[in-house]
């Protein structure tokens, strides 16, 4: 998207200096005292995290039966949560990499915590496929390792692809994020007043001296990673889509699924980024570098994704109708006339209707509006994930095995717990590491000075 006026327009304070920018970000960590809000938030999210731990313990004691899954609807919340979280996890690295390659000036302020969001989200997403196993203690059987039985994973299974994709993506994102973090660690090392801070950040900085040679190598690797990140991101959610589309079940067996899932991932991912951006901006007082313009451009992307989603849904319906197979038609009929129809309509409203307000420029520039849309669409996206599972498994090929899914209390607690866990980790990050890439801000300032 081409920024109006100068590329850096409205991204930085009118008059500022390299030092000021650094201070702006670093002081949020080092000087200002935390305040009760942070502690309150941390306490709540910690409690939710402990609740999650409790549920997982109970799950391992009592078995998968504590969830609502039944004979026909063998998948439920855990899988939906997994797809949802991995979708969110897709946006961070994508934003950082894609905007880097397309030289988007507004990347500077948001790429760091977007990447962090990715790492946490993917880590949480990775938990769910394991939690949903009947015998989670054997999850490692998905990895090829020498064993006396001479057994191997079954390479044709989309779950094995998933396993590989999640792990590669998680490690990759960590590397990408840490590489970008090193110069900022040096900055914090040099600004740290306490010995502990100097040592801790010093070690993480690995002796970075900002030498021209360092920067040259850093750039080379970082950009190379960015180039690889894009197909990787696409592959990760395409694989998640294949968990469904590589099957003969009505409503799943559709070639549209991989792209449809990728769009959905960016959709929910950007939604989450918008929410986090607002929180970081407020919590760390970064109004100076995180500006309405950031929300405006992200709003545009969300809008584009929403249209993409609309196209995907329409394609689904058209497939079902044009294939004309009985099961597909039943599935289509159940979407609009089944037990889950109210949820389905809610989902359509959240994902297709709500974002349309962003056509209005004023709305786009209004942070509150954009954030609300983002929250709504993330609810919608979660509904979409669960409905993909429910609608197909509840109305399979044989009417005799149709059944409705009733979530158990644990389904809800685990979902809530995962949100709390995510929030808690993010709070810690905001306290300990620079939420904004300071060296990127520096570059941005230099660009602006060149422009003028």
């Amino acid at each position: 998207m081409s920024p109006r006026g100068g590329g850096t327009e409205g991204l930085l304070p009118r008059s500022t200096s390299y030092g000021a920018l650094v201070g702006l970000v670093a002081d949020a960590l080092m000087r200002r005292n935390v305040g009760w809000r942070w502690y309150a938030a941390f306490g709540v999210t910690l409690a939710m995290t402990l609740m999650l731990a409790g549920c997982v313990t109970w799950l391992f004691l009592r078995g998968l039966g504590i969830f609502g899954n039944n004979t026909a609807v063998v998948w439920g919340f855990p899988i939906a949560n997994y797809v949802w979280w991995i979708g969110i996890g897709n946006a961070g690295t994508f934003i950082s990499a894609a905007l880097l390659l397309t030289r988007q000036p507004w990347r500077a302020a948001i790429n760091r915590f977007a990447e962090v969001m990715t790492i946490f989200a993917v880590a949480i997403a990775g938990l769910f496929p394991i939690l949903h196993l009947g015998r989670p203690e054997y999850a490692y059987w998905l990895a090829p390792y020498p064993n006396v039985m001479g057994l191997w994973p079954q390479w044709r299974s989309a779950l094995v692809w998933d396993f590989a994709a999640i792990i590669s993506y998680l490690i990759f994102s960590l590397l990408f994020w840490y590489l970008g973090l090193i110069p900022d660690m040096a900055t914090l090392r040099d600004r740290a007043r306490t010995r502990l801070g100097q040592v801790a950040y010093g070690v993480l900085a690995m002796g970075w001296r900002g030498s021209a040679r360092h920067w040259q190598l850093h750039d080379a690797v970082y950009r190379a990673l960015a180039v690889m990140a894009l197909p990787l991101v696409v592959s990760v959610h395409s694989v998640a889509a294949m968990d469904f589309s590589a099957s003969p079940m009505p409503g799943w067996q559709e070639t549209i699924f991989p792209p449809y899932f990728v769009v959905g991932a960016l959709f929910s991912g950007f939604g989450m980024v918008i929410v986090l951006t607002a929180l970081v901006r407020l919590g760390l007082g970064l109004q100076a570098v995180i500006t309405p313009r950031h929300f405006e451009v992200m709003g545009k992307i969300v809008l584009a994704c929403s249209i993409g989603m609309g196209l995907s849904y329409a394609t689904e319906w058209f497939y079902a109708w044009s294939l004309g197979s009985r099961a597909e038609l039943v599935h289509l009929h159940k979407l609009f006339g089944g037990e889950y129809t109210p949820l389905y309509l809610t989902m359509l409203a959240c994902n297709l209707l709500a974002p349309q307000i962003l056509w209005i420029p004023q709305a786009r520039r209004n942070i509150l509006v954009v954030v609300c849309v983002a929250i709504v669409l993330n609810v919608g996206m979660w509904l979409e994930r669960i409905l993909i599972i429910w609608n197909t498994l509840s109305h399979g090929h044989l009417p005799s095995m149709w059944s409705v899914f009733w979530p158990s209390i644990f389904d809800w607690l685990v979902l809530a717990g995962s949100l709390g866990f995510f929030a808690m980790m993010f709070l810690c990050f905001a306290r300990l590491l620079p939420a904004v890439a300071m060296h990127d801000l520096g570059k941005l300032l230099r660009e602006r000075r060149k422009e003028s």
């Binding site: 044709r156 590669s168 190379a224 690889m228 570059k443």
Partner: protein, 172 residues
């Protein structure tokens, strides 16, 4: 032991100019320290190209090939099983794993190569002792010269007009 000289600037542009001059003067041991990447310095200081990407490519391809070999061996030779009548060598399904493995290996290789080439991690370096060098990671831009035939005087002379904030020798 040749002295290490530092000239401090307030903005990257003057640093670049200084670097050019120093290079045209044919000085050796030039380097710069900046809070953020200044791409022009590569050419200004005449740094050798970074040969990292070929390594990443190599690692990626190798990993992909190995992964395919693993899938093929385990599915066709080591433990062949009839799974829904699919052919033992269902290579299209193996490719996904090859891709993931390739990307991962390339990324790791690049990461390792970066540290190898940049001589990091190195937690102790004489520069850190230099006064105000801590601003090299914030808002100061340093030109570093380490050349037997250069001393602080000549450096100051060279930089005449560029208005360095300071020119000093780093204690070794």
């Amino acid at each position: 032991m040749t002295a290490l000289l530092l000239a401090e600037f307030r903005d990257p542009e003057t640093l670049i100019a200084a670097a050019r001059r120093a290079r045209e003067a044919g000085w050796k041991g030039l380097d710069a320290h900046t809070p953020f990447a200044v791409p022009e310095l590569v050419e200004a200081l005449g740094l050798p190209p970074a040969r990292i990407r070929p390594i990443m490519l190599g690692a990626g391809v190798a990993a992909a090939v190995l992964t395919f070999a693993l899938c093929w061996y385990s599915a066709v030779i080591s433990y062949p099983l009839n799974l829904g009548g699919r052919p033992l060598n269902s290579w299209p399904t193996f490719l996904v794993l090859c891709f993931e493995a390739g990307v991962l290996a390339a990324a790791l290789a690049g990461f390792v190569a970066f540290f190898a080439f940049s001589g990091l991690p190195r937690l102790h370096h004489p520069l850190f002792a230099a006064r105000d060098f801590d601003r090299a990671s914030q808002d100061a831009f340093f030109l570093a010269v380490q050349d037997p035939k250069v001393d602080a005087g000549r450096l100051a002379l060279l930089l005449d007009g560029l208005g360095p904030v300071s020119v000093r020798e780093v204690a070794q």
